[in-house]
Symmetry: C2
Subunit: 287 residues, 2 copies
């Protein structure tokens, strides 16, 4: 990486966090800050530098899509246990770019209508268009996570879905969509502290739901389901990244860096004018 804002990384964060063959989720330290050589107080400045860069790349990406035949886009897929910080990533990383270039989709419990269709039906409807940065707050992976843990579908259907997901993502990559799949990884203890804070503060009560504790009690089953997701769907075209997220500031910097990588890979350029600039200047002067 050669971009200005990336100088604070002591290692290639993308390689460090990428899920490769042999990956074991239970060996990831949620407290760690892989590749980052500075302290929390420096991270704020580094995040601002990265935001400026992300912002310019986003505008280039958006502008490039205005020229014919340029369909590149970015899709950030966010998965995590409750309280791991998906909202903070959207607010502080994605929120630093022009909202006109961002499409957000939050996938909650499927509606009766959605359940009548294949699990990818509602996902396809939210795929980002050319030039956009799309963000999935939860995603089609719920259908092999809670879907598996809570046995919401038969085992053979769950099994079928891993292949369907790989096919679907491969299709998106073929269309020019760069997919960044992130699991924010916190420890069970950190989650307990964060849930307790929501209960302690009246201005946080609305973020708490009693079902959060029900899900929490299934933690080992969820971790097993994530492990299977990584083994079956971390592909060369669309790899997974597991981001240690006990330290929110690190998670934000790391996801920002992954997005910067995706945008640099696309390398969007300002499109050439589709009109004669001198003729237009003349027309404008005449008004």
């Amino acid at each position: 990486m050669t971009s200005k804002s990336q100088k604070h990384w002591t290692g290639d964060v993308s390689s460090l966090l990428r899920v490769n063959s042999g990956f074991r989720l239970d060996r990831v330290d949620a407290e760690a800050t892989p590749g980052y050589g500075r302290r929390k107080r420096d991270s704020i400045e580094d995040l601002v530098d990265g935001a400026d860069e992300l912002s310019e790349l986003q505008e280039r990406l958006f502008s490039a899509s205005r020229a014919p035949g340029t369909d590149a886009a970015v899709l950030l897929v966010l998965q995590a246990m409750d309280t791991a910080g998906k909202g903070g990533i959207i607010r502080h990383v994605v929120g630093s770019v022009d909202p006109q270039g961002v499409s957000l989709a939050a996938f909650k419990k499927p509606t009766p209508e959605e359940l009548e269709h294949d699990f990818l039906w509602r996902i396809r409807a939210q795929v980002p268009g050319p030039g956009m940065i799309g963000v999935f707050d939860r995603s089609h992976y719920e259908d092999v996570l809670i879907g598996r843990v809570r046995e919401l579908a038969p085992a053979d259907e769950i099994e079928r879905r891993y292949g369907a997901i790989n096919g679907f993502e491969s299709e998106l990559v073929g269309r020019g969509i760069r997919i960044v799949k992130v699991m924010l990884h916190i420890s069970p203890r950190e989650q307990r502290d964060r849930l307790m804070e929501r209960l302690d503060r009246a201005d946080k009560h609305w973020k708490y739901n009693p079902s959060d504790v029900d899900e929490r009690m299934l933690w080992p089953k969820y971790m097993a389901a994530y492990q299977t997701v990584f083994e079956r769907t971390s592909t060369a075209a669309a790899p997974w990244y597991v981001v240690p997220a006990n330290r929110k500031w690190y998670a934000r910097l790391a996801v920002q860096s992954l997005m910067l990588d995706a945008l640099h890979d696309i390398g969007p350029r300002w499109p050439a004018a589709g009109f004669d600039v001198e003729v237009e200047k003349e027309r404008l002067r005449a008004t």
Copy 2:
């Protein structure tokens, strides 16, 4: 206004910019900065203060909608001639709050499907849900602006639309949606300079369209159409605000202030917990 960030206003900006009976667009000075007593260099700091306040109010609005029976929302309607700065308002004012609480809708030339329906059909589909800040980048007003100037519909249909708009907006207000209707007003000379800048800079070419000059040549007709819009649709329930916009920094501060007013009027509160907090703490401790 008593909020901390509003201290820089020397007058009530909402009253100063509001379109009342007898309003004349041709008497508005696009260079002016009504109600603002400080300089451009101070405005940056004031905008940041306002952004913090807007951000907290937005979160409260969003949280309040999680309680049953609280359907309040805000709808910012942005209308303007090309280059007047709609995009900058979205980027720098709306963009300062959590994107998860914002729904943006840009209304371009209607599609064939949209043309088969009443002009409000596509608008209704984008009305912000409870707790959201909706933004219309252009709106149903295009149907009585370009619609009138370019004679895209018969005169009696255009005439019918003013009443239909008032009825529609009154319905939204009845549902708890606070509507902030803003016209960003620039001078023809300022527009020429801004279009010329787009032609001068290769990284701005993508923002220029030869049709911009065609529309520019109809300036007086557009101003007449806006004047009629103000006379017919600036209602007590949903008044118009004309914001002088030759100085971008002023327009941003003013629109931010109008949005702060709307949110203060709603006065959203953190919702009470829908569960027994002590019981939940006990459940959580047991995990």
